[in-house]
């Protein structure tokens, strides 16, 4: 009986400590900037990622999510934009209540093919993805002027629950 009890208690402790991690690729988030000049510019857009949607993809409940970390990110620019006209990309999240956090960067950009960013795996993004006022900010350095530039960003997330 003593052994059964010990086994039960240890399995209970062990099960409480288990964390599950789901890898989820998000839909694209759009950002836009207008009247841009050569040099540093900013594109912005509301963060349209919904925690509920991410939780569904991860197969869990939004309330059970403990942390969300970035494992990868890709960016694509509006068709017609010459690849060489964008020198660098820095993706950030911010909201009225949360500080601006840098999550992915690339410099210089590859001449061809998809633009895979260097992801910052150290920031927990749960609070940002849970904040309806969150904004995605994409800083770009341009080699020339542009009337408008659109960028879409998608993220690979590790969701811990």
């Amino acid at each position: 009986m003593k052994y059964v009890l010990a086994l039960f208690v240890s399995s209970l402790i062990f099960s409480c400590g288990i964390k599950e991690v789901a890898n989820v690729t998000t839909k694209e988030v759009s950002t836009v900037g207008e009247f841009l000049f050569e040099g540093p510019n900013t594109l912005q857009g509301p963060s349209t990622l919904q925690l509920k949607e991410l939780a569904n993809k991860a197969g869990t409940d939004p309330n059970k999510i403990k942390a969300i970390y970035l494992s990868g990110a890709t960016v694509a620019f509006s068709p017609g934009i010459l690849r060489g006209s964008v020198e660098s990309v820095l993706v950030q999240w911010v909201s009225d209540d949360l500080p601006l956090v840098s999550v992915a960067t690339k410099s210089p950009l590859p001449a061809t093919g998809p633009i895979t960013l260097e992801a910052n795996p150290n920031e927990d993004l749960l609070a940002y993805l849970n904040d309806p006022s969150a904004t995605l900010v994409v800083d770009v350095n341009l080699t020339g002027d542009a009337d408008q530039l659109d960028a879409t960003v998608s993220f690979d997330l590790n969701i811990t629950y």
């Binding site: 911010v94 009225d96 960067t105 410099s107 910052n120 795996p121 006022s133």
Partner: protein
């Protein structure tokens, strides 16, 4: 055509009504060392400043200077030109200060608490970086760049 003129006229009249005292910080500023220019703009209700010009934009390998001292290795490839060194400032109308933000020093990769005060001339700010209490810090005077 007449409608367009009326719209532009309304915009000119109404725009100052939407600008707040805090927006006086928006603009391009030159730190005392003169080796960079910082453009301060607003995202949501907070103010951010980024490097828009560097006196020496290239490193010893003739490559754009990057944030090589960032404590986060994943961000060390980010170019310094365009980097946001001032983050998350909010305007305190009672104190007439921009507070709650941070300033990043790319020379050593350190981030400090920071507050900003606009001097009476409207074209000079005192940027004070500190750790913990504001008495332990350093103040730098920045000058507003104006269009010629």
């Amino acid at each position: 055509m007449k409608k367009n003129y009326l719209f532009v006229l309304a915009l000119i009249i109404l725009t100052p009504l939407f600008a707040t005292d805090g927006d006086q910080l928006v603009g391009v500023w030159k730190p005392s060392e003169g080796r960079s220019l910082i453009k301060i703009d607003k995202i949501g209700n907070k103010y951010y400043g980024r490097i828009v010009w560097l006196k020496s934009p290239k490193d010893e390998n003739d490559e754009p200077r990057k944030d090589v001292n960032n404590p986060d290795e994943s961000l060390r490839e980010t170019p310094l030109r365009g980097y946001r060194i001032l983050k998350d400032f909010e305007y305190d109308p009672e104190e007439k200060l921009w507070v709650g933000g941070t300033i990043y020093d790319p020379r050593n990769g350190s981030t400090y608490d920071c507050k900003i005060e606009l001097k009476d001339d409207g074209n000079t700010i005192e940027v004070r970086g500190f750790i913990g209490a504001a008495v332990f810090g350093r103040t730098d005077t920045w000058t507003r760049m104006k269009k010629k």
